[in-house]
């Protein structure tokens, strides 16, 4: 997601006859989507602006991509916005939290994503909150959606994001005395190379990779 790259192997000027060489790898857009968003997304944004006067300050970006709406929220404002979304906009279900680690995004390396579902209105949106690797704290939403308890523990376990206000933030999948957070990009996959009929196949993380 850093810069544009050309060609499958990262090489330039070779006689690639496969037709793949001409493909350009595009980086993800970093801007906000302009209105109209389409579908019910405009309605959700309007309702949230009405119900939450600090909208412009708390929500840094609104992105519509592939038919999905993502609200990027300042991490300190997450609980406020979550309360409004649950109580005023009827997003009564939070389907968990998923973490992503972007080591190259300095100051916003760790990202937490909350897919929300409104069964009343049959709508889905997503909240995105970023935090720095040096200060990996995000307010917990367990108070708002109790079902996020285990999901936040999993994201803490896998990414080391500390959810402030969680009733018992301990490891859930890895053993309690485990070192490190396995889903981070700087955490190796591990594995050993395997010999079969005289040839050695390296572990998956050591195999030749195409960029």
């Amino acid at each position: 997601m850093s810069e544009d790259q050309t060609g499958m192997f990262g090489a330039t000027g070779t006689g690639d006859t496969s037709g793949y060489g001409g493909l350009v790898r595009t980086a993800a857009s970093t801007g906000s989507t302009e209105r109209p968003f389409g579908g019910y997304f405009d309605e959700v944004a309007d309702d949230l602006e009405r119900a939450y006067p600090d909208f412009a300050d708390a929500i840094t970006r609104v992105v519509v991509d592939r038919g999905e709406l993502t609200l990027h929220i300042k991490k300190t404002r997450l609980p406020e916005v979550a309360y409004v979304l649950r109580d005023k906009l009827k997003f009564e279900m939070c389907m968990g939290v998923s973490g992503v680690h972007y080591p190259e995004r300095t100051g916003a390396e760790l990202v937490a994503l909350y897919p929300l579902l409104s069964m009343t209105k049959n709508q889905r949106i997503r909240l995105e909150v970023a935090t720095s690797d040096l200060d990996p704290h995000i307010p917990s939403v367990v108070e708002i959606w109790a079902g996020n308890n285990w999901h936040e523990r999993e994201t803490f376990d896998m990414f080391g994001i500390i959810f402030d206000g969680h009733p018992g933030l301990t490891r859930i999948l890895m053993p309690d005395d485990w070192d490190g957070h396995p889903q981070r990009k700087d955490y190796p996959l591990g594995g050993i190379s395997v010999e079969y009929k005289g040839a050695t196949t390296p572990a998956p993380s050591n195999r030749r990779s195409y960029q």
Binding site: T26, A28, M93, V100, P115, Y210
Partner: protein, 446 residues
């Protein structure tokens, strides 16, 4: 201690109090020893290896007499790092990992992942209709085999042996069908980004109709045994109660939510794979207990058969249509076809790449070794699995491998409700409550 010394079933003093090790058959000595102590409260560790806990689930129970005052759940014993492994494989190989998460519903795992990848590629509408119909057919067959395990093991855990024999007999019919279609009974990696790996074998439609017929006849056996059965109802009615508000706040979906009375089913509410073209009912109950969940699952079996019948009719009309997207930059090149020798290579394809077309060989090699690229972005795709909303959150950085794949597993989420369902009840009812959630530990721990 009055009985003979057993080195594996002894008691010892710790700072927390007396700790007893129980191995079975030593109940009398345990009761007499506990009876001597003044402490009313005992803490029981159940699992992780316990026949009634549905796999390697650990429950720590705090009991006052026979009443449960606190339940704590320990998971993670089956964590295999599937999400991490997927980041080191290409987009197609990831299917073989995803299918192994919830081992009772492999087709759902594959479909959720593939729908997400297709959304990222922007080819959702290019997936051929025949491929979508086959996916629906396989998913509904899989729903039957999964519900059969839920019903069979659930009944066994509450002391009913015969329903399990009937359930596993019927599950076997479904697994044999899977084997005939995909070559494997479980973990098939059959659904692939862009379609399915191969078409149905010749004459499968006739066999599928036979399967539907025998399943429909067989379902009556368990229904006759359990529905309205006095002993069964005494073990399940009013047990493991969780109402709609509880389900909503805990993010519970699937049969548990529907047993609380809300007809929420993604197949109806947010259709995928063309579910809007099938006629079926969303089953609910209003009791919000173990018996209600049992009735919901029993009735869903018949609805799945209805969908399968409609899918076979559609397949008759779509005979000979492709089962993979036309775009050769994405579609797996092998064109597999099951031969008389039981192997899956397509001789026509091998003849083309080895004998006539150098470009085809290069294309095949490039696509298989490095795979296709997926434009950068992130999506969330959800399907209605037998246990509730199973969703894949997939992030691409534009490369040939997924940047991050996270599965929103219904088993993982729903297992949180064990405490809410069991606390305040009797210790024997925990088993029924856990069985009614139907957690699959492979899915919980991934």
């Amino acid at each position: 201690m009055t009985t003979t010394f057993d080195p594996y079933a002894s008691s010892r003093e710790t700072t927390e109090g007396t700790v007893f090790s129980v191995t079975g058959g030593d109940w009398d000595s345990l009761v007499s020893e506990i009876g001597e102590s003044k402490e009313e409260r005992i803490i029981v560790n159940m699992g992780p290896q316990h026949p009634s806990t549905h796999g390697v689930l650990r429950l720590v129970l705090e009991l006052e007499g026979e009443t449960v005052t606190e339940v704590r759940t320990g998971i993670g014993y089956l964590h295999t790092g599937i999400e991490k492994n997927i980041e080191f494989r290409n987009w197609t190989q990831a299917v073989t990992f995803a299918t192994r998460m919830d081992y009772l519903s492999p087709i759902f795992n594959e479909t959720a992942y593939c729908l997400a990848v297709e959304k990222l590629l922007g080819i959702t509408n290019d997936v051929p209709e025949r491929a979508s119909v086959i996916r629906v057919l396989m998913m509904e067959l899989n729903r039957i085999s999964s519900h059969m395990v839920a019903l069979g093991t659930g009944a066994l855990e509450l002391g009913a042996m015969a329903p399990m024999f009937f359930a596993f007999r019927d599950r076997e019919i479904v697994l044999d069908t899977f084997e005939e279609i995909t070559g494997l009974r479980m973990n098939m990696a059959y659904v692939r980004p862009g379609g399915v790996s191969q078409d149905l074998p010749e004459g499968m439609n006739v066999k599928l109709r036979e399967v539907v017929k025998s399943l429909r006849k067989n379902f009556g056996d368990n229904a006759k045994l359990l529905i309205g059965n006095t002993i069964w109802m005494k073990r399940t009615e009013g047990i493991g109660y969780l109402d709609l508000a509880g389900c909503t706040t805990l993010g519970i979906t699937g049969p548990v939510l529907r047993s609380a009375g809300l007809p929420w089913d993604l197949r109806k509410m947010q259709p995928y794979c063309g579910y809007e073209n099938y006629e079926f009912d969303v089953i609910t109950a209003d009791t919000a207990d173990v018996y209600g969940r049992f009735l919901v699952r029993m009735a869903e079996l018949e609805q799945s058969l209805r969908i399968i019948e409609q899918a076979i009719d559609k397949l008759d009309k779509l005979e000979g249509q492709p089962v993979m997207v036309a775009d050769k930059k994405i579609a797996w090149p092998a064109q597999l076809a099951l031969g008389a020798d039981g192997l899956g290579n397509s001789l026509d394809h091998i003849r083309e790449i080895m004998g006539t077309s150098m470009e085809s060989l290069i294309h095949h090699f490039k696509l298989v070794t490095e795979g296709f690229r997926v434009p950068a972005g992130q999506v969330y795709a959800a399907v209605e699995s037998p246990r509730g909303e199973l969703a894949a959150h997939v992030v691409s950085d534009g490369g040939t491998r997924p940047y991050r794949v996270h599965f929103r597993e219904p088993s993982f989420n729903n297992l949180q409700s064990t405490s809410a369902m069991s606390e305040g009840g009797m210790v024997a009812d925990i088993i029924g409550a856990v069985a009614s959630i139907d957690p699959v530990m492979g899915g919980v721990d991934r």
